[in-house]
C-alpha cells in the first residue's frame, strides 16, 4: 500500500512538474515477430527546466504540493518495483536526470497483451478511472499490431475544469509514439502517422491538447508483411 501511495506521489509529481510550461512524452516500442518486445516511456521536461528548477524550490504551486527530489526518486523506484512484479514484464530499468528533468522507464514484455496489464496497473495505482478505452494487441497468425484508443469526452471535460493557469501547461506539450518492428510494414491506418524509410517503423506525433480534445487519435492498425 505504501508503494502505491509513493507511485501516486510520483505521478502527481510529474503532473505538478509539468505545470510549468512545455513538456514531451515519448513512447517507444520494439515489437518482435513473436509478439515479445521492449518499451520505453520518457517524460522530458528539459525545455522547462528553468521553471521546474524554480518550482522545486517552492512548497506548492497553483495549489499542488511540490515534492522534493527524494520523494520523486522513491516514487520512480516503487514504480519499477511494481513493474518487476507484473507477469510477463522483465528487464525493468529507470533513468532520472535531475539536471535536465528527464525521467524514463524501460522494460521488456513477453507478449504485447502484457502492456494492457501494465496499463491497468497504472490506473489502479493512480486510483483513476481511465478516460476512453486503451489497449494493445498483436495477432500472431496474420502479424497485425493494433493500438486501440476509444476517445472519451471525459478528458476534455476534465481539462475544461482546470484553472486557466493549469490549462497553459498543456498548450505546448507533445506526445510522440514510435512502433518499430522486425519485419517490413505492409500498411498502417493512422493518417497522422508516418512510415519510416526502412518501412519498419511508424511514428505518430501530436500536441497533447489535440489528444485531449479528440482532434487526433493515437489508434492504429499496423499490418506487417507475412
Amino acid at each position: 500500500m505504501q508503494g502505491h501511495i509513493k507511485l501516486y506521489y510520483f505521478l502527481l509529481t510529474i503532473l505538478v512538474l509539468s505545470l510549468s510550461g512545455c513538456f514531451e512524452v515519448v513512447e517507444e516500442m520494439v515489437v518482435k515477430r513473436d509478439g515479445s518486445g521492449q518499451m520505453t516511456v520518457t517524460l522530458n521536461l528539459s525545455q522547462s527546466k528553468t521553471k521546474v528548477a524554480s518550482i522545486m524550490l517552492l512548497d506548492s504551486i497553483n495549489g499542488y504540493k511540490v515534492p522534493n527530489k527524494e520523494t520523486i526518486q522513491q516514487g520512480l523506484h516503487d514504480a519499477v518495483a511494481n513493474l518487476r512484479k507484473t507477469p510477463g514484464i522483465s528487464k525493468v530499468s529507470q533513468r532520472l536526470d535531475f539536471d535536465n528533468y528527464i525521467a524514463s522507464i524501460s522494460f521488456s514484455f513477453s507478449k504485447v497483451a502484457d502492456l494492457n496489464v501494465v496499463n491497468k496497473l497504472i490506473y489502479q495505482k493512480l486510483k483513476v478511472k481511465p478516460t476512453g478505452e486503451s489497449s494493445y494487441s498483436y495477432q500472431h497468425a496474420n502479424h497485425l499490431f493494433v493500438r486501440n484508443y476509444q476517445y472519451s469526452s471525459e478528458a476534455k471535460q476534465a481539462y475544461q475544469k482546470l484553472k486557466s493557469q493549469d490549462k497553459e501547461v498543456f498548450k505546448k506539450a507533445t506526445y510522440t509514439s514510435i512502433y518499430r518492428f522486425d519485419s517490413p510494414i505492409l500498411f498502417q491506418r493512422n493518417k497522422e502517422a508516418k512510415l519510416s524509410g526502412s518501412k519498419k517503423a511508424v511514428m505518430f506525433r501530436a500536441n497533447i491538447l489535440d489528444l485531449i480534445n479528440g482532434n487526433k487519435n493515437i489508434s492504429n492498425q499496423i499490418q506487417l508483411v507475412n
Binding site: 528548477a53 493557469q165 519498419k200
Partner: protein
C-alpha cells in the same frame, strides 16, 4: 436606519467635519486617536465632484431613502465639511470604548438626517441622544458636535473570580460540567468497576457460562441508569447554555450601563485631548493620521491571548522598549506619502543609533543604473548589530518568557562568545545594494530528441531563449581574504571558473550562472558576466540620478520600485492573459516611482516612510484612488 447606511455614513463622516476646534471631544485618557482632515479631503476632491461620483451618489441615495428625502449634496447632512474628525479609543481593565467626534454646522439638518434612527432623548444642554437597537451603540449630538459611542467588554476582566461573583457571572465551561459529574458524591468510577469485577468473579465461580443470565431487577437498574444518564446529559447542556445566556445578558446590561455612564461623563465635561505626545506628533498637512499612546501597551492588551496560545503562557509583560507611535497620510498632487514613527525607550535609543550608524559606500552609485526596475539599499553596522543583538533579544524575549529569563541570558552570552563581531563586521560591513536591472533574454540549453530516417531517437541539445532576471548585489567588505580563500577552494575543486578576474559559479540546477567579483572593497554578485567584466575593467557606465543617490545616502533602508519600467519589462514576457498579466500591465503602466524608506533612527524615534507617484491621468492621487475604488466597487466609471 439601515446598518449599511450607518456604515456608509460613518465612512463619509470620517472625511467630513468642522474646522479646527478647541473642543475636539476626545477624552484625555484616549490611548489611540485617528484624525481625518476633511478640509484637505474636499480640497483634493471638491464637494460637487464628490456628489457626482458613484460613491457620493450611492451615499446620497441610501441616506435619502431612509429619510424619504432626496438629498442633492453631502452639505445637506448638517456636517461641517472643513474640519477635523476624531476617532479614538479609551480603555479600562473592564471595557474598551470607541468614539467618533464629528463637528457640525447645522444641527437641524442632522436632526432630520438621524430621525430614521428613532426619537432622540433630549437631555440638558441641548444634547440629543439615541441608543441604537442593539444598545451597544449610542449617538449623541448638540449644535456643535456629533458623537458616536460603542464599546467592547474585556473578557479577561470577567475571568477574575471576585469580579464574576460581584456581577453574578458564572463563567461556566463545559469542562466544569464534567468535573461536577466526576466529583459528585457517587462512588468513584474505579471502585464501581472493581466491585463489578469482584461480583462477576464470584458469580462466575458458581455458575456455568450457560447459566449467566441477567436478573430482571439488574436489567431495570441498568436500563434506568442509562436512561437517566442521557436525560442528565441533555439537561447538562441545557444548563450550560442557559448559564452562558444568563452571563451574556448580565454583560450586555453592564455594557449598556457603562457606555451610558461614559456618555454622561463626557457630555458634562468639555473634553479636549491635549496629550503632549499627540500634540507633538500632529502633522497639519496630513489628510489622515493615527496616534497610539504606547505600542508595548497595545501588544500587552491585544496580543497576550495570541502569546498565550502560541507560547502556552499568559503574559502582559511584553516590554520591547517601544513608546508612542504615529502615522500620517499626506497627499500632494500625484504623490502619496505614508510616514510612521515609533518612539523607542531611552535605554534602547543608544543601541539602535549604534546599529544604524553606517554610511553608504558611495562607490556603489557608479554601478546602479537609473533604468533599473527596482533596487534595495541597506546600511547597518554589522559589528554593532551583532554586539547589540543579545541585548535586544533579552529585552524582547526576557520579559515575554519570564520563566526562561536565565536561559535566554545564557543563550545571549553564548552568542557573544561564539561570534567575533569585529571580524565579521570587517568581512560584511553592513551596507549593500541589491539591484534588479531588468529581465534579460538569455540562451538556455535544453535536451530533446531528433529522429533518423528509421525513427531511431537521438538525444540532442538545443538552445532556446528564456527571460531571466538580471540582478546585481554588492556589499562593502574591509576584509575579502575569507572570500578569496573560498573562491580559491572553488577553483581547485572545479566548482568555479575564473575569466577576466570574474569568478563564475555554474550550478546545473540554477537557471542562471552566478558571477562574483571582488574589487575596491566591494563584493559583487550578479547574473551578468559582461556587467561584472565592465566593472572589473572600469568601463561600467551608469547614470544614477542625484535624487536616487540622495535617497540611498540618507536612508538606512530603501526599497525603490520603478512601476513604469516594471510594466515595460512585463510586456517583454511571453505571458498569456490567463496569468492576469494584461490587468497588471494596465495598472502599472501609468504609475511612477514607489519608495519604501527608513532612516532608521531620528532622535528617539524609529522612522519609516512609503511614498508613491500615482498617474497624472487624474488631477491628484486621491482622485485616482477614488477612481480605482469606484472601478472595483461599481465596475467602471
Amino acid at each position: 436606519m439601515h446598518k449599511f447606511s450607518l456604515i456608509l455614513l460613518s465612512i463619509f463622516l470620517a472625511f467630513a467635519a468642522a474646522a479646527q476646534q478647541v473642543e475636539n471631544g476626545v477624552p484625555e485618557n484616549a490611548y489611540a486617536v485617528a484624525t481625518v482632515n476633511s478640509k484637505y479631503f474636499f480640497d483634493l476632491i471638491s464637494i460637487s465632484e464628490f456628489n457626482q461620483s458613484k460613491i457620493g451618489q450611492a451615499l446620497l441615495e441610501k441616506v435619502g431613502k431612509n429619510n424619504n428625502i432626496r438629498y442633492q449634496s453631502v452639505e445637506d447632512f448638517g456636517i461641517d465639511l472643513h474640519g477635523q474628525v476624531y476617532i479614538y479609543s479609551t480603555k479600562t481593565d473592564s471595557i474598551v470604548y470607541y468614539g467618533m467626534c464629528v463637528p457640525l454646522n447645522d444641527a437641524k439638518k442632522l436632526d432630520t438626517l438621524l430621525r430614521g434612527l428613532g426619537t432622540p432623548l433630549n437631555t440638558q444642554n441641548g444634547l440629543r441622544r439615541i441608543e441604537l437597537e442593539d444598545k451597544k451603540q449610542i449617538v449623541t449630538w448638540n449644535d456643535k458636535i456629533l458623537h458616536l459611542f460603542s464599546g467592547n467588554l474585556q473578557d479577561r476582566f470577567f475571568e477574575n473570580e471576585q469580579v464574576a461573583m460581584k456581577y453574578g457571572i458564572k463563567n461556566r465551561k463545559l469542562s466544569d460540567t464534567y468535573d461536577t459529574t466526576v466529583t459528585s458524591p457517587e462512588p468513584p468510577m474505579t471502585d464501581t468497576i472493581d466491585s463489578y469485577w469482584n461480583k462477576a468473579d464470584t458469580v462466575a465461580e458458581s455458575l456455568d457460562s450457560t447459566d449467566v443470565v441477567m436478573q430482571e431487577d439488574e436489567y431495570n437498574d441498568y436500563s434506568s441508569d442509562h436512561y437517566t444518564d442521557s436525560v442528565n446529559q441533555d439537561s447538562i447542556y441545557d444548563d450550560y447554555y442557559a448559564s452562558i445566556a444568563a452571563d451574556d445578558s448580565i454583560k450586555s446590561a453592564l455594557l449598556n450601563k457603562w457606555l451610558n455612564n461614559e456618555v454622561n461623563r463626557l457630555s458634562i465635561t468639555k473634553v479636549t485631548f491635549e496629550n503632549k505626545s499627540f500634540k507633538h506628533a500632529v502633522n497639519k498637512k496630513a489628510l489622515a493620521s493615527v496616534w497610539i499612546r504606547n505600542v508595548d501597551e497595545l501588544y500587552n492588551d491585544f496580543l497576550s491571548t495570541v502569546y498565550s496560545a502560541v507560547l502556552g503562557t499568559k503574559t502582559n509583560k511584553f516590554n520591547a522598549g517601544f513608546g508612542s507611535a504615529n502615522a500620517h497620510l499626506v497627499v500632494e498632487g500625484n504623490h502619496v506619502k505614508l510616514s510612521g514613527a515609533l518612539e523607542v525607550a531611552d535605554d534602547q535609543v543608544k543601541r539602535y543609533h549604534r546599529i544604524y550608524n553606517r554610511k553608504m559606500n558611495k562607490k556603489f552609485f557608479k554601478y546602479i543604473n537609473e533604468d533599473a526596475l527596482a533596487y534595495m539599499g541597506y546600511k547597518v553596522n554589522t559589528q554593532a548589530y551583532l554586539e547589540e543583538l543579545p541585548n535586544l533579544m533579552k529585552q524582547y524575549y526576557g520579559s515575554l518568557l519570564g520563566g526562561f529569563k536565565e536561559e535566554i541570558d545564557l543563550g545571549a552570552t553564548l552568542f557573544s562568545l561564539v561570534l567575533d563581531e569585529k571580524a565579521i563586521g570587517k568581512v560584511v560591513k553592513g551596507d549593500g545594494v541589491l539591484i534588479l536591472n531588468g529581465l534579460k533574454k538569455q540562451e538556455v540549453k535544453y535536451t530533446t530528441y531528433e529522429y533518423d530516417d528509421d525513427y531511431n531517437s537521438i538525444e540532442v541539445e538545443k538552445m532556446k531563449k528564456e527571460t531571466l532576471p538580471d540582478f546585481l548585489w554588492m556589499f562593502s567588505s574591509d576584509d575579502t581574504k575569507l572570500m578569496e580563500k573560498l573562491l580559491s577552494i572553488g577553483l581547485s575543486k572545479h566548482a568555479i571558473t575564473e575569466e577576466s578576474g570574474v569568478y563564475t559559479f555554474k550550478n546545473k540546477k540554477s537557471p542562471f550562472d552566478v558571477h562574483i567579483l571582488l574589487k575596491d572593497g566591494i563584493v559583487f554578485i550578479g547574473t551578468s558576466f559582461e556587467s561584472l567584466v565592465a566593472v572589473q575593467q572600469g568601463k561600467s557606465k551608469n547614470n544614477l540620478s542625484a535624487k536616487n543617490k540622495a535617497v540611498l545616502k540618507k536612508n538606512s533602508m530603501v526599497l525603490a520600485l520603478n512601476a513604469s519600467k516594471i510594466s515595460k519589462a512585463v510586456n517583454t514576457l511571453d505571458l498569456s492573459d490567463s496569468y492576469g498579466s494584461k490587468a497588471l500591465k494596465e495598472r502599472l503602466q501609468n504609475l511612477g516611482d514607489f519608495y519604501f524608506t527608513s532612516k532608521g533612527m531620528d532622535g528617539n524615534k524609529m522612522v519609516a516612510e512609503f511614498s508613491g507617484e500615482f498617474p497624472s491621468t487624474h488631477k491628484n492621487a486621491l482622485k485616482y484612488i477614488l477612481f480605482l475604488i469606484e472601478n472595483t466597487a461599481f465596475g467602471g466609471m
